[in-house]
């Protein structure tokens, strides 16, 4: 007998290839612009890593593979909690001189690539842009991207909930994110996000 949760875990839609966009996690839909295939997203400022993980969680739950390059201090438990499926998550630590080739190879193989700081230079970024567009992957850079990223996010203000003076514990954060870039519908704007809310995000 196959349990319902077993079934839901095994049903992985194969139809992602046809879509021009990768799905966002449910609580972020409508608040953040959709991830367009073949683009680069730059995430900086407060809460950059958590935001990048939250962006990758949507596609991962829908069956995409996520690779993290040059992010040796990435919190894997946090990744699992935001909704990234660990069965389809790899961490790659290349030596500095091969980092760009590795990113290019990963752009060919997986749908979402999280890139850490100091990996890609300006010239490499332009060459990669063509490859990213052709392959239809999404690169989320947790560091300044040398080229113009189609979507740029910056966490500017942060408020933590659930923790007081000697009681409680870190529960959720209210993050104010500034959006910029072509994919942000042109205009600059700020949105208020609630992240790390364990009750909503934890996979059932």
């Amino acid at each position: 007998m196959v349990g319902i949760d077993d079934l839901s875990r095994r049903v992985a839609p194969v139809a992602l290839a046809a879509e021009r966009q990768l799905p966002l996690r449910r609580d972020l839909r409508g608040r953040l612009p959709a991830l367009r295939r073949g683009t680069v997203v730059e995430v900086q400022g407060l809460g950059a890593t958590s935001l990048a993980l939250a962006l990758a969680a949507g596609p991962s739950a829908a069956g995409a593979w996520v690779a993290a390059v040059a992010l040796p201090s990435l919190g894997v438990v946090a990744a699992a909690e935001t909704g990234i499926v660990l069965d389809r998550f790899v961490l790659v630590d290349p030596p500095a001189d091969q980092a760009v080739t590795v990113v290019a190879a990963l752009v060919d193989s997986v749908e979402v690539v999280l890139v850490g700081p100091g990996v890609v230079g300006t010239r490499d970024a332009r060459r990669l842009a063509a490859r990213i567009r052709e392959r239809g992957s999404v690169v989320v850079s947790v560091a300044p991207w040398p080229d113009r990223a189609e979507l740029r996010m910056r966490g500017v203000r942060n408020r933590w909930d659930g923790i007081g003076s000697g009681y409680g514990h870190v529960r959720s954060r209210h993050l104010v994110v500034e959006l910029d870039g072509r994919a942000a519908a042109g205009a600059r704007r700020s949105i208020d996000l609630v992240l790390d809310d364990s009750a909503e995000q934890r996979p059932t």
Partner: protein, 506 residues
């Protein structure tokens, strides 16, 4: 469809572990019984039982872990013995071998005489089955009387022999489940279905199983000979002394073979693995697989074969390292495609990722590409184990650990924690007492040599007194969550009076 002899060692994993048949013992994997000895079976232990259930029925049960390498190693001498009877022995897995019956049968004077000869000369409890094809012969071996028995199915009688067997004998649990729900319980009923309908409903794999149930065996080889030699080989320089070094090359070789076959729309269900040492010693084995051999399956079999050879008895062990590996595909037939499973299974994205990651590993080395596994622990760094991609993963621990810092976990975990200073209102360093209470409320924090920041909120401490029973490994730590006025939140840990930043809630 060649008349085949199958020699089957029931409970080979238990025999390989060196346990006598009258001792109740069972081999467990993932907490379930994989094989058990005869004595254990009489006490009610069955395959698939959970460990608790097995031990409840048989309290003196000897528990053994699954050890594929020992199984393979222990099986090598048996294969060597069988090779004296028939030069070409095909191994399906440790404990199950098959070989063509025609030559040896004529030599020994009949199938019965051949079976008796095998039983007399091969040590250990085994059963022999002879039939028109390997599948029926395997089932015949299973149906033979207990140890020391053999069963010969006369030519042409396979269909009649297979008819009363349950559909579970096909070894495809999902298909068997589906067939049962459709009302088909025996192989005879399955065989009675018209072949074109089976092909339409179940695809080429189902059609192959249907042929098997009818006693027709695997489709005979294509009469055309492959135009090009599809063997692949690799030279190892320097020669590999250890199995894992050779196995890593074998993985790349298997991928190449897979690519060669795929580009010609071919599949193989058997493979000859040849290994040669620098001193000229050779070991050649034929491996057969039930369905289709994937690259990973081939690499695994190379590993088994080399393990059995390099780590075997002193008499058969080679004197040098492995310098040449050769893979020759056998039983090549046209690739009729594989029906992707309706529920989950491997998707196109999975295959694309697998190919790309395997290639990356080939370039950077196996440790460069790793997959995370959640294991037990208190700190966010301890809860993760990184395993090279493609390796077997350790069992995930799902249950929460007492004393762990509650969710959500921090997004950045520092591999080398930077030092920190935490002081109270009076300027003294904050400590955590043995009773897990802070000496005073922390008011200011400084990371490394940065600027002092006021603490807006804090929580904890979460004490962790680990391995107090093991003096060298004993660690006493406590963790605090700190929110600084800058808006950043940290997970600080104190040990021996000094503070470190274990993680940042970035």
């Amino acid at each position: 469809m060649t008349r085949s002899v199958v020699v089957w060692f029931p409970d080979w994993p238990v025999i390989a572990a060196g346990v006598a048949a009258d001792v109740p013992a069972a081999v467990f994997h993932a907490n379930r019984v994989v094989a058990c000895s005869e004595a254990a079976r009489q006490s009610g232990v069955r395959r698939g039982l959970r460990r608790r259930e097995a031990q409840a029925g048989c309290p003196e049960l000897v528990v053994l872990p699954l050890d594929r390498d020992t199984e393979v190693r222990a099986f090598e001498p048996v294969v060597a013995l069988l090779e004296q009877i028939c030069p070409r022995v095909e191994i399906t897995r440790p404990g199950l071998v098959a070989f063509a019956a025609r030559g040896p049968s004529r030599y020994f004077g009949g199938d019965d005489a051949l079976s008796r000869h095998v039983l007399a000369n091969v040590p250990g409890p085994c059963r022999v089955g002879v039939a028109d094809d390997a599948f029926a012969a395997g089932l015949a071996a299973r149906s033979a009387d207990s140890a020391g028995g053999y069963l010969v199915i006369a030519p042409g009688e396979s269909a009649a022999f297979l008819a009363p067997m349950s559909v579970d004998a096909l070894d495809r649990p999902e298909l068997a489940d589906l067939l049962r729900r459709l009302g088909i319980r025996t192989l005879g009923e399955f065989a009675a279905l018209p072949a074109p309908r089976v092909l339409a409903r179940f695809g080429p794999e189902g059609a192959a199983l249907h042929r098997r149930a009818r006693g027709e065996g695997i489709r005979p080889l294509e009469t055309r000979t492959p135009p090009v030699d599809l063997a692949v080989q690799a030279e190892l320089d320097p020669p590999a002394e250890r199995v894992d070094v050779a196995a890593f090359t074998a993985k790349a070789l298997a991928d190449r073979l897979q690519h060669e076959l795929r580009s010609r729309a071919l599949m193989c269900s058997g493979i000859v693995i040849e290994a040669e040492t620098e001193h000229g010693e050779r070991l050649e084995r034929v491996w057969r697989h039930d369905g289709q051999l994937t690259a990973a399956g081939v690499a695994e079999r190379v590993r088994w074969q080399l393990d059995g050879w390099l780590n075997g008895s002193a008499a058969s062990r080679p004197t040098g390292g492995i310098s040449l590996l050769r893979l020759v595909p056998e039983e090549i037939h046209a690739d009729q495609g594989r029906q992707p499973a309706f529920w989950g299974g491997t998707t196109l994205a999975d295959e694309r990722a697998a190919r790309g990651l395997a290639r990356l590993q080939g370039v950077l080395g196996p440790d460069a590409v790793r997959m995370p596994v959640l294991v037990g622990g208190r700190g966010p760094g301890e809860r993760v184990a990184l395993v090279p991609w493609g390796d077997a993963k350790p069992a995930t621990v799902g249950a929460p650990w007492p004393g762990a810092v509650p969710a959500p976990a921090p997004a950045v975990v520092h591999g080398e924690p930077p030092p920190a200073d935490v002081v109270d209102a009076a300027g003294a360093t904050v400590t955590v007492t043995g009773r897990a209470m802070v000496s005073a409320a922390p008011t200011r924090v400084r990371i490394g040599r940065g600027r002092w920041a006021d603490i807006e909120a804090w929580a904890g401490p979460w004490p962790a007194d680990e391995r107090w029973w093991d003096p060298p490994a004993h660690r006493r730590r406590a963790r605090l969550q700190i929110v600084a006025a800058t808006g950043a939140a940290y997970l600080l840990v104190v040990e021996g009076g000094r503070w470190w930043v274990e993680a940042t809630y970035d």
